[in-house]
Chain length 332, copies 2
Amino acid sequence: MATIYEIAAKANVSVTTVSRVINKSKNVSATTRDKVTKIINELGYTPNILSQSLATGITNVILVLVHGVDNPFFSSIIKGIEDNAYQNNYKVLIAETSGILEREDQYLELLKTKLVTGCIIMSCEKNSKDLEALYEKYPIVQLIEYDQKAKVPFVSIDYYKASRELMHHFINKGHQKIAFINAGESVRISSIKKYQAYVDILTENDFPVITKELEPTTFSLENAKELTLILLNKHPDITAIFACSDIIAIGACYAIESLNKKCPDDIEVFGYDNLIYSELSRPKISTVDLKDFQLGKKAMSILEAQIKNTDYDLENYSSYQLIFKESSNCKD
Amino acid sequence: MATIYEIAAKANVSVTTVSRVINKSKNVSATTRDKVTKIINELGYTPNILSQSLATGITNVILVLVHGVDNPFFSSIIKGIEDNAYQNNYKVLIAETSGILEREDQYLELLKTKLVTGCIIMSCEKNSKDLEALYEKYPIVQLIEYDQKAKVPFVSIDYYKASRELMHHFINKGHQKIAFINAGESVRISSIKKYQAYVDILTENDFPVITKELEPTTFSLENAKELTLILLNKHPDITAIFACSDIIAIGACYAIESLNKKCPDDIEVFGYDNLIYSELSRPKISTVDLKDFQLGKKAMSILEAQIKNTDYDLENYSSYQLIFKESSNCKD
DNA sequence: TTGTAGGCGTTATCAA
DNA sequence: TTGATAACGCCTACAA
């Protein structure tokens, strides 16, 4: 690879001048600039990011930490992040942690070693203190799931509010026996908030709480079906199911169908996240849309604010929308 | 962040010695090593990868270039890559190109600038020559889709063979009017090979070729349904459909259902890729499993061979398996 | 407008 | 077994 020195030699100028041209500094004459630019193109020169970063202490690379790229929201969220990032000339790299703390740390070291400038964390195994410590030193933003105790900026949606809205729909429809099937990761803020809303509304109305939680390791769809069957067996008078995710909702529908009941006529089902799955299934699953693209964009903007030292909020709630499809009786 | 100099100062040794300790060189006395190690731990020192790489010209980071992380196979393939990579102490980063050449180049520059050591390419917009030129300089492996004309190593499956096998199943079942619905990216090697196999087998048997190709920009599921309806309208005697992907197969099933026909009784349908979608739909889609995890592992091993300068093959075909589910009459 | 020289944090070379 | 010093490729005062 050509270096700044070779360019300088061929152009008969100093490396400083070449550097100026590369960085579009104003203090270069048009003639010099053209001469240097021409040679740069001739030699197909690309600046060595390593060296640039070493000298400036900054890279234009940001990292997205995710549990797994098969994370349901992930693919559309990343588009939002990138949209914002590319506009501001950042490169976006993604890393999977698989929920393994050691691996998470390994990738976060890329921050310490200056390889990446900031990090969007969608999956975090750290305790609150360690996370805060990290945030003190580096630009960090949590996305969707976040640590309630840590004072570290996050972008998410108000799961509690959204879930109350969903429950209100059920109540307005006259449902009294409403089941809730939670994902098997009830430590996640999203699960906690959904459950809170579910319980609160039922309590306010004096209706019974009927819940099951998925076993974390199983294939959600099958497990959801099993759990729903157990619930429906024990409580044959259930008329509505609040599923923590679309996949779970589909499993629930399978269970309903296998009992020769109809969804939504006999039992109404609501999912969460508005994934493509909810379109593929029969009936199509009513669900809560998270506007993933917006979430991603917002997260990137918060990160950038940190990098550029401008103002930003610690708590950022993005909008959502209840989508009524075939698995629920249409809106009120 | 602490640097090697601070460590050296505190330990009363030279930076060279500290460097030796960090890199586990043999030429350090146990006493010195312990002393230095202790201070390293005390100060929570992490080497600056940028500097290391600048000095050595090597990073332990590899890059996976993908069109989009919503690429259907991607999530399980990446697990295979990582499995192999972590064992050999590499970090794996992922980047989306969205099929944009400029963006692809931007990420590939990370190779030139030594930020990453090698690259697994799952999506490439480059022409054969440019790709070959890249391969001359850097460790590169193509995964799944590959450029037939470029002499650049690839890991994929033998789509032609697999598709012939699939078609043989149809023929053995007595089907004569077999439709083929191709993805809207018929420049991809996978699409080309599937189509080749389809046409070859029909020609060998003197059966008619009946095909449609998806419009690239549309939502596959709906578009597949439409196209299937058109085909079934024009050729009501079609008894089998070879769909280029599971999603397309699901769309085909929808079309069949909407005509009050039964799958597989009236029309047998086969998909490709064995994605989760094929499990969610009714009927479950018979499909070709690609053993994604193995593919990923293999790709990483080829990349490593390049990095470590050991032998490897240019053409690597991984195994596959026809999976018979509900959308086809069970195996022969 | 241009150039010189020192520094970023590490490793490699050579000598001691 | 250790250390001094150049080198990696770039940026940025400071000087001219």
